[in-house]
């Protein structure tokens, strides 16, 4: 492509052939293909809206094809709230190009100028009326089998009729009627059922396996410390797995840190220290009259998806086909191939929807389990379902973190210097990260090596544990440092918003502490350090929604605010929390204002922000992975409680209209600001700052005692 051509949008650059993105092979339908997968975030509905808009067809004509390594564009992981940017922009351009190419073909056939033609729901018309030509009567397959050329203008948002409006999600009717839709519902012909038997501790070796006395129908699979069974029914597989678990003898090594001293673990473990940002305050440093310092921590957090992970695998000679709810089927394909010494072409992965996913959960690991167990099943498909305990104890976790902040105020109460040091295990432990397959069962196979500590991506304020560790405020001197742990006793990887949850909790808590030191109102203090107009707008709007200026003063009730631009370069979110603290800490209401630029599906954005806010409230108030020196012990919902219907706050969300700005994702915006707002509201309610998550009654009592 000539250097002068404008760049192709989003994932179109890596997948330029138009036919990869859409086809008209079904009469009256448009099939679009994205590499981004649906897991309840509603992305397919938004992508269908984008396609319908550019192609000028009714939304009901657009069908989103299942995502597969054999047919879909490779768009990497469905992660980082990037799907609308990556896939939406690519589809928009691909569909606009397709529309123009097909109109041009029609014009040539009719011997008229393309400008004389219009498109109505796929039918091509002239001023005189229908031409008899449509998307479906032209040789679309031939015409679209070409790389995307120079971009053509997309339809201006002011003229949108499908995009930009709330559209009902395409998947919800199936879900209220119980139609099979999830991978867990998929039954392939002649399918067998497998179960794995995990070790009793994180570090354990199988020392002996006396005959477990399995029935003849069950097959035992043993390779090193990897144990599993395959049987004709799931019941039989589960029974056999229990027999194997009872019989197996293990050598256990205590490998986990002291659960009562996470701070000590985070600070004492060997770490790699990298500078994220070093901007000296220069002469201004001399203005500092007061310096405040504080430390903030969070424990390990679990994905705790509603469904245990599931996968199906089937071998055909030397090739294997996998059905998975992974967020990254292309990386999973590569990791499976690397783990078994296969060519990538010998592995096919089809995505099938699973329950809600909030990052790198057990989906990839169970896919490898299924691949290994299916080797013992001839050519039969084998379906493997994890137990709830497997899901809570063996899926990767979001890392425990510690952020140490210090800031210098001048005599007028303005922040002059800011220092932030973040200690954490890495967040980028997905399959293939750092060149390793990073699939759990591979570490248990004979000769398998333990997984290396998770990478954390480049040291920036957009990535890994230091995501949002660079405050968005106007502060002359800033120094931000990342300390990535080089021991990984507890396996960590990507969990929604990565480090942004703790970093924004810490920054926004600390801003309130600084505001108090400066004798300023918390919202006013923020606005005094915030010149970005979009950040100011969401904060002002959230404060207005909550009635910040007229908020009441009642014993045991508190209000707090938080604001952040996600990753420092994506969507904006501000939150105000109302908290009641008596026998327990309860968040009553949350008001959120968000700016995600141009919006494809407003109700989809609101749904994502509401959900993010509730999940962040749950993390912030309740959640912590529990463990002893051997193993994770929070194995079920009673030992890993999440917020329930009587405990969740009422959530009010408003989208600030900035339709002239580029679209950004919405799924992770709320995690940090909501945590900050709740932390500040708790401090407002009880009069003491609680810096260690979760903000349980016990933690609050401890903070009051230490105060």
């Amino acid at each position: 492509m000539p250097a002068s051509s404008p760049p192709l949008a989003g994932s179109l650059a890596a997948n330029p052939v138009l036919a990869r993105w859409l086809d008209f092979s079904r009469d009256g339908e448009v099939t679009i293909r994205s590499g981004k997968v649906e897991f309840g975030q509603g992305i397919w509905t938004a992508l269908a809206q984008v396609a319908a808009e550019e192609l000028q067809v009714a939304l009901a004509r657009v069908r989103v094809a299942p995502v597969s390594t054999s047919t879909s564009p490779d768009e990497g992981f469905t992660a980082g709230s990037r799907s609308v940017q990556d896939s939406g922009s690519a589809l928009r351009q691909a569909c606009a190009l397709a529309r123009d190419l097909l109109l041009a073909a029609a014009a040539a056939r009719l011997e008229v100028s393309p400008a004389a033609l219009t498109m109505t729901d796929g039918q091509i018309r002239t001023a005189a009326g229908p031409t008899g030509l449509s998307y479906w009567s032209l040789d679309a397959a031939g015409i679209l089998d070409r790389p995307a050329g120079a971009p053509v203008p997309a339809r201006p948002p002011g003229e949108w009729s499908v995009a930009g409006r709330s559209a009902p999600r395409l998947d919800i009717p199936d879900k209220v009627t119980g139609r099979p839709r999830f991978l867990h519902d998929l039954v392939l012909p002649d399918m067998a059922y497998g179960r794995v038997v995990r070790p009793p501790a994180v570090a354990a070796e199988l020392s002996e396996l006396p005959d477990p006395g399995l029935s003849r129908e069950a097959v035992l699979v043993r390779d090193g410390s990897f144990l599993g069974v395959v049987a004709p029914t799931d019941r039989a597989a589960l029974r056999a797995a229990r027999q194997v678990a009872r019989a197996a003898r293990w050598r256990v090594t205590q490998s986990l840190p002291d659960p009562r001293d996470l701070r000590g673990f985070l600070l004492a473990a060997p770490s790699e220290t990298l500078t994220v940002l070093d901007r000296p305050a220069g002469d201004a440093a001399g203005l500092v009259t007061r310096t405040l310092t504080a430390e903030f921590t969070r424990p390990f957090l679990a994905h705790a998806s509603m469904a245990p992970s599931c996968a199906i695998a089937r071998w055909d000679g030397g090739s294997v086909t996998v059905w998975s709810h992974s967020q990254g089927i292309f990386a999973l394909r590569g990791a499976i191939a690397a783990g078994l010494g296969l060519e990538v072409g010998q592995v096919t992965v089809h995505h099938v929807e699973g329950a809600g996913a909030y990052g790198h959960n057990g989906a990839d690991d169970v896919a490898m389990d299924a691949v290994l167990l299916a080797r013992a099943a001839g050519g039969r498909a084998v379906r493997v379902l994890w137990t709830r305990e497997d899901e809570m104890c063996w899926a990767p976790l979001g890392s425990a973190m510690l952020a140490r902040l210090s800031a210098g105020l001048d005599a007028g109460g303005r922040i002059v210097t800011w220092r932030q040091d973040v200690w954490s295990n890495g967040f980028i432990g997905r399959p293939g990260s750092g060149g390793e397959p990073r699939l759990l069962p591979l570490a248990h196979l004979a000769g398998g090596r333990p997984m290396s500590p998770a990478p954390d991506g480049p040291p920036t304020g957009a990535m890994g544990s230091t995501r949002n560790a660079v405050p968005g405020y106007d502060i002359p001197g800033m120094h931000v440092t990342r300390h990535r742990l080089l021991d990984m006793p507890v396996r960590t990887s990507s969990l929604r918003s990565l480090g942004a949850h703790l970093n924004v909790f810490a920054i926004e808590s600390f801003m309130d502490e600084l505001a108090a030191a400066a004798g300023a109102d918390p919202v006013e203090f923020r606005l005094a350090h915030l010149t970005d107009p979009r950040a100011r707008q969401v904060l002002t709007e959230a404060a207005r929604m909550a009635g910040w200026d007229t908020r009441g003063r009642r014993d045991g009730t508190g209000y707090g605010a938080g604001v952040a631009r996600y990753k420092g370069d994506a969507g904006y979110c501000a939150a105000v929390a109302e908290v009641e603290a008596d026998t327990d800490i309860r968040v009553r209401r949350l008001w959120l204002a968000v700016d995600v630029g141009r919006v494809i599906n407003p109700d989809g954005v609101i749904n994502q922000v509401e959900g993010g806010a509730v999940q962040s409230a749950s993390w912030t108030l309740r959640e912590q992975v529990r463990f002893d020196r051997d193993r994770i012990t929070s194995a079920a919902w009673d030992s890993y409680p999440i917020l329930r219907f009587t405990e969740v706050p009422e959530v009010m969300v408003r989208i600030v209209d900035t339709s002239g700005e580029a679209e950004t994702g919405a799924g992770e915006l709320a995690q940090g600001p909501v945590a900050g707002a709740i932390g500040n509201a708790v401090a407002d309610a009880v009069g003491v700052r609680v810096r260690d998550l979760p903000l349980t009654r016990e933690q609050v009592a401890r903070a009051i005692e230490e105060n």
């Binding site: 897991f39 309840g40 975030q41 209220v176 469904a307 809600g356 137990t387 959900g611 993010g612 959530v651």
Partner: protein, 160 residues
């Protein structure tokens, strides 16, 4: 292990299955009877994804032995009548009351049981009824609105 024959009434039809008496009802519904609505979430009756109606009451099917499942059983598949969705199902669609939807069928079952006994619940009563159903995506507010809507109540004040 000994298998027995069990006769069940599921969604109005008489069904017969042969299995061990301690087989969880959920397993029978999903694997023997091919129903996908009740879902496996935890196996301990702690999350609500597997809820079904038994004699009109919502209860977990993952920890209920098939031998103890007396009385007619209704799953979400059995709720529509005369080709129309149950009002609770329709309200979930109208309110877009889901994200991933894995827990949705259990929520719908709980709501149907609640409205049968309390046709006009308060919001607090709806929340209390749903307290045994977990949602990890954070769709709680929409789900409560949907149940109130199905009860014919105003759902003003929603965030949009």
């Amino acid at each position: 292990m000994d298998e027995d024959e069990f006769r069940l009434t599921v969604n109005g039809a008489e069904r017969s299955v042969t299995c061990e008496p301690d087989t969880p009802l959920l397993d029978v519904l999903r694997h023997d009877l091919g129903l996908a609505g009740p879902r496996f979430g935890c196996g301990m009756g702690l999350c609500g994804a597997c809820f079904v109606l038994i004699e009109g009451r919502a209860r977990s099917s993952c920890d209920l032995p098939v031998s103890a499942a007396g009385g007619p059983i209704i799953t979400v598949e059995g709720l529509p009548a005369s080709g129309r969705l149950h009002p609770v199902q329709q309200a979930f669609i109208d309110e877009q009351a889901a994200q991933c939807g894995y827990c949705t069928s259990g929520m719908v079952i709980t709501a149907v049981a609640l409205l049968r006994d309390h046709p006009s619940p308060t919001e607090q009563e709806v929340r209390e009824a749903l307290d045994g159903n977990l949602c990890r995506c954070g769709a709680h507010g929409r789900i409560v609105r949907a149940v109130l809507k199905a009860a014919g109540q105003d759902t003003a004040g929603q965030s949009r």
